[in-house]
């Protein structure tokens, strides 16, 4: 599988990373080099193998339904690049 320029643009858009037209070709080459190298996995026989999602071999622990957090809008907003009152602010979103 080899990426074309349109695919590079599409995944950059999905990842919300602005990529200039002059960068597309370089990225395409690098990504194809990595993907080409990854293709070696195709030679592994994985028939009947269950995928391993993580290294922790446990079941999920559950916590009690108790309010232990929140009530600190200033802490939550202290790092915000832009705030208005106790809101985060972004350019107007049209739905």
């Amino acid at each position: 599988m080899s990426l074309d320029a349109a695919t590079v643009r599409r995944i950059a858009s999905l990842a919300r990373i602005g990529v200039g037209e002059d960068e597309i070709e370089g990225l395409r080459t690098q990504l194809n080099s990595i993907l080409g190298w990854i293709e070696q996995l195709n030679e592994v026989d994985v028939t009947g193998i269950a995928p391993l999602t993580g290294a922790a071999q446990m079941a999920l622990k559950m916590r009690d339904d108790v309010v232990t957090d929140g009530g600190d809008p200033d802490g939550v907003l202290a790092n915000a690049p832009e705030r208005a009152g106790d809101f985060f602010v972004v350019p107007k979103v049209v739905e």
Binding site: A15, I17, S33, L41, F88
Partner: protein, 496 residues
């Protein structure tokens, strides 16, 4: 010099009042001041905080307090969130970020009395094997080549600042994180010890995430025992991390003295990669000979899927990273680059905020998860990952630990391996399989190459059996008698 002490010796000295915690910390603060402009090992220096902590430690020592890390100055990889102290993850995008919380691991160290000298440099978001991808400049390896002393060497990565700080003796120890080798490879490059414990041994809460199913915190120090002391404080169950293991934390330092008599040590034949440098092969054989001499039995084992570890890693880690890094969007914290609308704001912020390697991995990760490619890449990689784990499980049915080289080379120079991302990725070929399986692995300095640069050996153990790893590493440390010193260190530079 106080900066030459091991952590264990410094601790004993403090207990005997040979020197005060303030004197110990002042010596390290002075070393930071003298050497950090050269090494660039710390992004943020917290000298005032360190001295205040040291004074508090002196008061506590005077009252008989014997917490295990009381008054011992450490460097903290700038991936651990530290309350009120800027935490950058080596990225522009977190340049202005001051966490309102303390990571569990650093909170554990503070609980045990540690002093924090500052935040150690790293590859951006821990993505790299050279520390060249940091937005805060490259880190300089304190070691120099004998034949080419002008070459500036990399400390390895991603925890390059932590390793350089400990090797350059500006900190007694340091925290690191290891996703595919980010503790072990820089430890090898800088001639110090470093352990990636079992996945789940240390809480990930408050550590900026790279690849959640692989990330694991661990210590660096100049001796195996020092690593054991630090890990005991760092480790432990944390209900805030669902992947944290609810297991007691053993006395790792006690295990260092166990010896290896009767242990079965595996040699994975697939690690004999084509083109392995002769001196690394020789050091490996030397390591096996030392262990045999100490009474261990050496056993050939097979990890047939090891050679696919790296390719698997370069699907799984970028996939998780592409999702973990979506939160850096310029809205709630960190850098914001303006845009006419929300999409532009995101795209400008993330284009300006992320460096080249991070962008590359986020794009790869986005691609391997995207519609139509998930099965071919991500799902297949998860299945290969299951096979890699099975290899280790099978091997550990026969042996107690594995011995391998840590890295395929000694430290390389800045600018080398930079053109081809895949060539850089090959640095992690020996370290990645243990990461994929979640098992503990440690690098211990074992010798020098022809250029006088340190080389490490890697000990890989069973899940949650760090004690055997420490026992084997300590045996190698004793046998190797590694006492070479890096060119850049307190005193040495003053003499130049």
């Amino acid at each position: 010099m106080l900066t030459d002490l091991t952590l264990a010796v410094a601790r004993a000295g403090l207990a005997r009042r040979d020197f005060s915690a303030t004197e110990l910390t002042q010596a390290h603060v002075d070393a930071v001041e003298a050497l950090n402009p050269t090494l660039n090992a710390l992004i943020t220096v917290t000298a005032d905080q360190a001295l205040a902590q040291a004074r508090a430690a002196d008061a506590a020592l005077a009252s008989g307090d014997d917490r295990p890390l009381l008054g011992l100055p450490l460097a903290i990889k700038d991936l651990f969130c530290t309350k009120g102290v800027r935490t950058t993850a080596g990225s522009r995008i977190l340049g202005p970020f001051v966490p309102p919380y303390e990571s569990t691991v650093t909170a554990n160290l503070l609980r045990d009395g540690a002093v924090f000298l500052g935040k150690a440099n790293l590859d951006e978001f821990a993505m790299g094997s050279s520390n060249m991808t940091s937005a805060y400049g490259a880190v300089v390896n304190p070691w120099k080549r004998r034949q080419d002393a002008d070459a500036v060497l990399v400390p390895g990565g991603s925890s390059g600042g932590s390793a350089a700080a400990v090797a350059g003796r500006i900190a007694l120890g340091a925290t690191g994180t290891d996703t595919g080798g980010s503790i072990r490879q820089p430890a090898s490059f800088c001639g110090i010890a470093g352990i990636k414990p079992t996945y789940g041994r240390c809480s990930r809460w408050g550590i900026v995430a790279f690849a959640s199913s692989l990330d694991q915190a661990g210590p660096f120090a100049r001796t195996v025992e020092d690593c054991a002391i630090l890990l005991r404080s760092m480790a432990g169950h944390d209900p805030k991390d669902s992947t944290s293991a609810d297991r007691p934390v053993p006395d790792f330092a006690a295990a260092c003295a166990r010896g290896v008599r009767g242990l079965r040590i595996g040699v994975p034949r697939e690690y004999r990669a084509d083109g392995m440098p002769g001196e690394i092969e020789a050091l490996w054989q030397q390591g096996l000979a030392w262990l045999r001499a100490e009474g261990a039995e050496i056993v050939d084992v097979s990890l047939p899927h090891t050679k696919y570890g790296l390719a698997t890693y370069y699907i799984v880690a970028p996939a998780e990273a592409s999702s973990n890094l979506a939160r850096y969007d310029g809205v709630r914290f960190g850098l914001r680059a303006d845009g006419g609308d929300l999409r532009e704001l995101y795209e400008h912020t993330r284009a300006e905020g992320f460096g080249e390697e991070v962008r590359r991995r986020v794009l790869i990760g986005t691609y391997v998860l995207s519609a139509g490619y998930y099965d071919a890449y991500y799902l297949r990689a998860q299945k290969v990952r299951a096979l890699i784990l099975r290899d280790f499980t099978d091997a550990f049915a026969q042996v107690d630990a594995l011995l391998t080289p840590t890295a395929p080379s000694a430290a390389f120079a800045q600018g080398e391996n930079m053109d081809d991302p895949v060539a850089m990725y090959l640095n992690d070929v020996f370290t990645v399989p243990a990461s994929m399986a979640g098992v503990p692995a440690m690098s211990v300095p074992a010798g020098l190459d022809g250029n006088g640069l340190p080389l490490g050996l890697q000990i890989i153990g069973r899940p949650f059996d760090e004690e055997t790893v420490f026992a084997v590493a300590a045996a190698i440390e004793r046998a190797a008698g590694f006492d070479a010193l890096p060119a850049i260190r307190p005193g040495a530079v003053a003499a130049e």
